[in-house]
Every structure is written in C-alpha cells, then in structure tokens.
C-alpha cells in the first residue's frame, strides 16, 4: 500500500483499501449465498429422493442466475392497503442488517501480496467487533417486524409478530452463549480471538480447549439459537406455510422478495462465520504457517460445514409448535447458556489462582 499512500496520503489510502475490501467482500458473499441456495435445493433433492434443479448449465450450475433474472422480470406488486414507505423500507433494512456484519470476520492470517504489501485478511478490525455483530443483528428484527405490519394482511402480521418475538427471545441465549468465549479470550476483537486458538493441531480451538475452559455447552447453545435466529427449520415458524402462507413476506414479490430471501441466506452465512470464528478456530488449520493463503480455504471449509448442517437439518426435522418454541428458548436454552457463563467463570477463577 506504500505507493498508494505516497500518491494520495495515508488516510485516503486506508479508506480506499477498506472500500475495495468491503465491495469485494460483498460480491464474494453474495456469490457464495447464491450457490448456497443452489446447494440447498440439490441436497434437499437428494435427501428427499429426487434430483433437484439440474437443467441450467452443467449440473444446474447456472441456476442462481436464472433465478435472479426471473426475480428481476417478475411483476412488482404493491398492495393498495399497505403503508407504502415502510413497505419499501422493510426489505432494505433486512438486507442491510444482514450484510453489514460480514466486514468484521477475519478469513485469513497476515499475508503479503505483490504491489499491496503486508496486511491482515480482515476487512475491518476494531475493539468491539463482537458487540458490533450483535448490535447489527438486533436491528435486523425491524426488517421482518415492519414488513409484517406494513403489508396490512393478517398472515403477514402474524408472521411478522412471530418472527420478531422469536428473534428477541433467542437473541438473549445467543448473546449469553458467546460470553464464555469472551471470558476465556479476554477481548472482543475477532482477529485476536482467532489468533489465540492457534497451534496444537486444532486442540486449542475454543470448543475443546482444555488448557482454558472447553466451550462445548456454549457451542451447542449458540448453534441452536443461531438456527432460531435465522428462522430456519426446525424454528421456521414465521414462514410456516401450512398456517401463514409465507409469513411476513407474503405480500412481497419480485426483487423485494428476493431481498428478503437473500437476507435469510446471508444471515445463515454470517452466523456460520461467527460459529467458525469463535468456536472452531477461524482460519487456523494445518500448514497455515507455511502458506498463509491456505487460511482462506480452511475458513471456507469450516463455514460450509455449518451451511451443510443447516440444509441437512431442513431435510430431516419437522417444525416446532409456537409454544414449544418459546418454552424451549426461555425455560431451557437461556438457563443452560447462563449455566455455561457461571461454569466458565468458575473454571477460569480457579485456573488463574
């Protein structure tokens, strides 16, 4: 970056670098998301004993682009009784809140590239990265809630209310299950959390790090609440098609629906990245010291494991009932997450003495 700094000054060089990083990150994430949709349809097909979309391109490889074209050319319908401004605002909030957290995830160690120099493979690194993720996630609730309300239809309203209450209920156990990792790491900066998990051939990953405090309980509670947080099977009550048509996005068509659809899959991707970063060592893996760029491969492999888990669950499990969902979240998951915090704190207290 030295030549750029000399040309336009250090501040502007940093700003330009981050802007390029953010844009590249968005494009890459959106491509991955597009192919996650394809993978979901194919894998679901195999689980259910059928083929799935395999006509467009070799093995259905161009299906996402065909879907996108179809979304663009569909008719835009605005219900006449809707609250127009909020009706258009809701999908924008949903996709913005889904895309914003991706800039803080580290996807590789320090690398040095020709013409650019040495830099960390993370777009933005700051003191409160984890809190930033939680904060943006909590703003994402407005997308679904306002979509349900502004459509002025009873199915949308019911779906929006369900989604909002589910999101704020499971946000608590999600946040609490991460406290254990923060306790053993002593920082909220995701890059240093990943750096601390290096070495010992993966035995120092936070999930089973016996030298500090293993976070198995935290990992499981995080995984369950993350699935609920992204409204996926078996927690996809807001979109229960047998009861609510399509839930909060019943009245949305064309690209506005596509934005909600993308937001759901981007959310899936970000919670998978967070699980990888906090519990499974992020980009840490064999031979990362020798070939730093290999970190990206390990990172994406771990993330795709979680994405596959999501699809697998969708093909396997039936849906919860709403009171079961609330009981499970408040009466089981939240106490377990709290117990994990107390347990981790106790272990660390006796370790440090």
């Amino acid at each position: 970056m030295d030549w750029l700094s000399n040309l336009i000054g250090a501040d502007w060089a940093r700003a330009v670098g981050q802007l390029v990083g953010i844009n590249v990150g968005f494009v890459v994430v959106l491509m991955i998301v597009a192919y996650t949709v394809l993978a979901e349809r194919r894998v679901l097909g195999f689980i259910q004993g059928r083929l799935g979309p395999n006509r467009v391109g070799p093995g259905g490889l161009f299906q996402p682009f065909a879907d996108l074209l179809k979304f663009i050319f569909k008719e835009e319908i605005t219900p006449s009784a809707s609250t127009r401004f909020i009706y258009f605002l809701a999908p924008i909030i949903a996709i913005t809140a889904a895309l914003m957290p991706i800039i803080v995830y580290p996807f590789g160690p320090e690398v040095s590239l020709p013409f650019i120099g040495k830099f960390h493979l993370v777009i933005a690194r700051f003191d409160i990265a984890l809190l930033y993720v939680l904060g943006i996630t909590s703003v994402g609730v407005y997308g679904v809630a306002l979509a349900g309300w502004s459509s002025n239809s009873k199915y949308s309203l019911m779906g929006g209310l369900r989604a909002a209450s589910q999101l704020i209920s499971y946000e608590l156990s999600l946040g609490l299950s991460l406290v254990g990792v923060v306790l053993i790491s002593g920082t909220l900066d995701l890059y240093s959390i990943v750096e601390q998990q290096g070495g010992w051939f993966g035995l120092r990953w936070n999930i089973w790090d016996v030298t500090r405090a293993p976070q198995v309980i935290g990992f499981i509670t995080y995984l369950i609440s993350a699935i609920a947080e992204t409204n996926r099977v078996p927690f996809d009550l807001p979109e229960a098609e047998t009861e609510l048509v399509a839930g909060f996005h019943t009245e949305y068509s064309a690209l506005k629906f596509a934005l909600f659809f993308m937001a759901e899959y981007v959310n899936m991707f970000t919670v998978s990245m967070l699980a990888t970063t906090l519990f499974l060592g992020g980009w840490q893996g064999p031979f990362v010291d020798v070939f730093p760029l290999l970190g990206i491969v390990w990172f994406l492999l771990k993330v795709s494991f979680f994405l596959f888990l999501y699809i697998w669950l969708r093909g396997t499990l039936p849906r919860f009932r709403f009171d079961q969902l609330m009981n499970f979240g408040w009466k089981f998951l939240l106490p377990v997450a709290l117990f994990n915090v107390v347990l981790t704190a106790t272990i660390l207290f006796f370790r440090w003495r």
Partner: protein, 228 residues
C-alpha cells in the same frame, strides 16, 4: 481528517430524525425516526472514540427498547392522530418567550461568558471509551453505583410484574392474588367454572367482555364526537 464530514453527516441525520419524530402524526413513523436518532448518535459516539458506548446504544436502545415500542404500536394498531384545533392560547407566546430565553442563555454561555475564554484541550489519544477500560472502571472504582443501579432496575422489574399479575381472571392470577372468592362467571348455567376448564371459561369470559365492552364503548364514542 474524516471526522468533521462524518460529524456533519450524522449530526444532520440525528437532527432530521428528531424533527421528524416530533412532526410525524403516525406513531410508527415516529418510532422509526427515533431509531434513526439512536443510530446516528451511535455513529457520533464512534467518531468520538467511544466504540463500546456506541455498540451498547444500538443494542439496548435500537435493538431492545424500540423493538418493544414498535411491537406495542403494531399490536394496538394505533391509527394516525387526528389533527385537532390548537387549544394552547396564551401558552404559545410563553413558549416562544422561554425558547428565546434559552437560546439567549446558551449564546451568552458560549460567546460572552467565562466558558468562551477557556482554551479547548489539544486532541489526544484516549482509551476511556474502549471496552477494557470501561469494564475495569465499572467493576473497581464505580462498583457501588453500578450495583445500586442494578438493584433499582430490578425493583422496577419486580414492581411491573407485581402490577401485571393483579388480575381478576382466574386463569392468569397468581395463587395469592385472586380475590377471596373466585368470581362466578355466569355462562347461562349455574355451574361454577373452575380454573383449568379452558373452553367453558373462555366462552363465559367472552360473553362478559362483550357486555362490558358495549357498556364501556358508548360514552367514549359520545366524547369523541363532542371533542371534534
């Protein structure tokens, strides 16, 4: 070097959202404007080197409290406020006068008073807003105020729950809170309905509520017509 443009941007956003918050007649639009104010304030905190407070601002205010407000507005389906004739009369000149006094006072403080003569401190790096320093301060030097505030919030919580549980409904009441005899709901038979008989209680309750609702709704309608 980006601080001033960012401050202007987010400051303008905060002021614009605050004006919209007061000027809007649809309560949901007001709530959304308030969220905009909170988010812009969080961004200003970020430019002031206080990232932790910015994150807490978004999580607590925008992410938790305003969600509940929006929830209530959605559930009650509050209609747009009808513009009524202003009945303030003499209060308007008083308000203008007080605003003028306030602006004059602020101008005096900033331009003429002693505060204007103090040289601003040179900008310097600070770790006051970082997570670690806030945690250290909160759990060592300011532990007592922190704990006292927590007890205060806990009291508010307990009070709210106690108030909410005082109900005459035999299904919802806490065991100690029911009136001496559970109210007999006359569902057209002389059977005393016990808590737990959901269907029968619901039928009786609906009947009761319809009657009460009709009785209660009449004067309200009259009052509204008289007011407009």
């Amino acid at each position: 070097m980006f601080t001033i443009p960012l401050f202007v941007l987010f400051g303008a956003m905060a002021i614009g959202c605050a004006v919209a918050l007061v000027a809007q007649r649809n309560p949901l639009y007001s709530a959304i404007s308030l969220i905009g104010v909170f988010v812009s304030l969080a961004c200003i905190y970020l430019t002031l080197q206080a990232p932790f407070i910015a994150a807490i601002q978004v999580i607590v205010y925008a992410g938790a409290i305003m969600v509940l407000v929006v929830f209530v507005i959605m559930l009650l389906n509050v209609e747009e406020e009808v513009r009524r004739p202003v009945r303030l009369h003499y209060l308007i000149p008083v308000g203008v006068l007080l605003a003028a006094v306030l602006i004059g006072e602020a101008a005096f403080m900033l331009k003429l008073g002693s505060a204007a003569r103090i040289e601003p401190l040179p900008p310097q790096a600070s770790d006051v807003g970082l997570t670690a320093s806030i945690g250290t301060g909160m759990f060592t030097k300011y532990l007592l105020p922190f704990e006292v505030t927590s007890v205060l919030i806990l009291m508010a919580l307990v009070g709210a729950i106690t108030l909410a549980r005082q109900t005459r409904s035999p299904l919802l009441a806490a065991p100690g809170n029911v009136a001496e005899e559970p109210p007999v709901l006359d569902a057209g038979s002389d059977v005393l309905i016990q808590p737990g008989e959901t269907a029968a209680t619901g039928r009786a309750f609906a009947q009761q509520q319809i009657e009460q609702g009709e009785a209660a709704a009449a004067p309200v309608t009259e009052g509204r017509e008289g007011g407009v």
